[in-house]
Structure formats: C-alpha cells, structure tokens
C-alpha cells in the first residue's frame, strides 16, 4: 500500500476514540441531570465536579485527535 494512503487511513482510525468519549460524556451529563432533577437544591454544589468529570472524559477523545495530528504531520 502507498505510505501516504496508509497515513490517511491511520489518521481516520484515530477518530474512533470519539465514540468512547461521546458515550462517556452522555453518561456524565445524563446522570448529572437525573440526579439534579431528584434533588435540585444539591445540583449547584456538584456542578464543579460534573465539569471536572467532563474535562477528564473529554481528554480521552482529544488524545485520539493528538494521535491523528502526530500521524499526519510528523511522519
């Protein structure tokens, strides 16, 4: 196979982590909302924790993006 074609396929495959990050983010926001509707008075105090979990989950997806950039621009 052509090296350039293999590179592009690899960069495309590096987008797969988006699936995991999407599922994770959905779980975080969904569970936060279901908890917040049960006890709205406690929702505000837990918002920083929710955003922190969002940031940590998002990072796994962004690692895929970083790998795609490395494949495309450094080899």
């Amino acid at each position: 196979m052509d090296a350039e074609a293999a590179k592009l396929i690899g960069a495309g495959l590096a987008a797969i982590p988006l699936a995991g990050a999407g599922v994770g983010l959905g779980l975080i926001f969904g569970n936060f909302l279901s908890g917040a509707f049960r006890n709205p008075s406690a929702a505000a105090t837990n918002q920083p924790t929710m955003l922190l979990a969002f940031a940590l989950t998002e990072f796994t997806g962004l690692l895929g993006f970083a790998i795609a950039m490395i494949i495309l621009y450094t080899f």
Partner: protein, 264 residues
C-alpha cells in the same frame, strides 16, 4: 514540514510568522504574531483592570462590577478546592484564568480584511508550546510547594495510606504515571480544543466560499454551512470560557493535592 500557506487550507491560520525578525547567534528570537497576540491580550487585561479599579466605589459601576464578579468567581473556586491555605495561590490562579480566557476569546475575533498575513487574528492557546508552558508552570509550583511544605512526606501523594503491601506494588506505579500525565493532559486539552474548534470554523467558512463560487442555484445552498459556522462560533464562545475554567479548577485541585499530601 508542510507549507500551510501554500496549502491554503484550514491549518493556515495556525502558522507562526515573524513580524520583527531577530537572530542572535543562530537562535531565532523573532517577534512573531504569536508574541504580538499575547502582548495584545496582556495589554487588554492590564487596561481593563486599570480602569476597573481606578475609581473604587462602594456601589460599583459597570466595569468595577465585572472585575468584582471575576475576582469573586476565582476566589470562591480557590477557597472551595484548596481551603484557607489557598489564599496565597489566588494571584496565580486568577492570572492563569484571565490570560487563558482572553487568549481564547481574542482568537475568535475575525481578521481585518486586507492586512498582511502575519497581522491576522491568531489564537496563542492553539499552540501546544504555549499551553505546555502554562501547564509546566503549574506542575513546577505544585512540586516545589509540596516539597517545601512536606519534605519527603510529599511522596505520600503516590502511596495512599491504609492499603495492604501487595496492593502498593500495583497502585504506586499507577499513581506515578497519573501524576506524570497531568501536565500533558492539561496542555493537550486546552490546545486540542482550541485547534479543533478553529479548524471546524474554517472548514465551514471554506464550504460557504466554494458553494458561492459554484454559481447558479447551488449558491442558495451556501446558507446551510453559513448557519453551521454561526452555530460553531457560539459553541466556541462556550468552549473558550469553559476551557479557561477547567484549566483553573484542575490547577486548584493539583495545588490542593500538594497542600494536603501528608494529611491522609
């Protein structure tokens, strides 16, 4: 290396160009567009806080209220995560938050048409060297403060107390890897968010141009990518503020780890 300008694609906006070329002993110390936009950001922040605190009133005016809201927001964040001990870190976290926020937001300004390429709008936080610099500063402060406060007990951060010995052999390497990945995760999160957002904006803008260039009935279709660009722009404002907040809160949590390393 790929020539982004020749490509003219969505990566062109991230090219670092020298404005005042300076070379000292074979080292490139040019004043670049990245440095220019950092200076513009810092100047804007300094000017804003100068005017906000010039006439201090008990009942604040408009600029003073904005400064007070920002101050109170970070002050609460630092107190809630680190505790009263965190008072001395407030200036650092506040500076970090405002700098990242302004750098992210200024990158969203449209460029003035007709200016040379090196004076176009530039997002400094879309470069990993800038964000890694900020992240390494944070981690250096965390390690220095932890060692200064706890001495060798700072290493307790890697060994949670009350665990059986055999579990330590598994957990200590995991804790060390997790600690070492902190600066990387801080840097890559901010840089990748900014980079991805700006690439998507440029892609949508490119679709509008190419559809308008097609002529005829197809031109009417260009409204769809234009609406997409507007939606992505709104999302980018949210992301710009959210990423500054996330960087600040993670800095606070790491500082809190260092401050309370010997407690548990």
């Amino acid at each position: 290396m790929i020539d982004f300008r020749a490509a003219g694609g969505p990566m062109e906006q991230f090219e670092i160009l020298p404005i005042v070329p300076i070379r000292i002993g074979g080292i490139d110390l040019s004043f670049t567009n990245s440095a220019l936009w950092m200076l513009i950001g810092v100047a804007a922040i300094a000017l804003f806080f100068f005017f906000a605190t010039r006439r201090r009133a008990l009942v604040p005016g408009r600029t003073q209220s904005v400064a007070e809201v920002l101050h109170e927001f970070i002050s609460d964040l630092v107190r809630d995560t680190i505790g009263t001990e965190g008072r001395k870190f407030f200036p650092y976290v506040f500076t970090l938050f405002i700098f990242i926020l302004i750098a992210n937001l200024f990158g969203l300004f449209p460029s003035i048409p007709g200016l040379p390429h090196e004076l176009h709008t530039f997002t400094t936080t879309s470069h990993v060297i800038v964000t890694l610099g900020l992240a390494m500063t944070t981690i250096t402060i965390v390690v220095a403060y932890g060692v200064w406060k706890h001495g060798w007990k700072f290493l307790k951060l890697f060994a949670p107390s009350g665990l059986p010995l055999w579990l330590m052999f598994i957990l200590v390497p995991i804790e060390i890897i997790s600690f070492l990945s902190r600066p990387l995760s801080l840097a890559i999160r901010l840089f990748a968010n900014m980079l991805a957002g700006h690439i998507i904006l440029k892609l949508f803008a490119g679709f509008v141009i190419s559809l308008l260039g097609a002529g005829g009935v197809v031109m009417a279709l260009s409204i769809a990518p234009f609406a997409g660009a507007v939606a992505v722009m709104l999302l980018e404002f949210l992301v710009a503020a959210l990423q500054a907040y996330v960087f600040a809160i993670l800095t606070c949590i790491y500082l809190s780890d260092a401050a309370h390393a010997g407690d548990h």
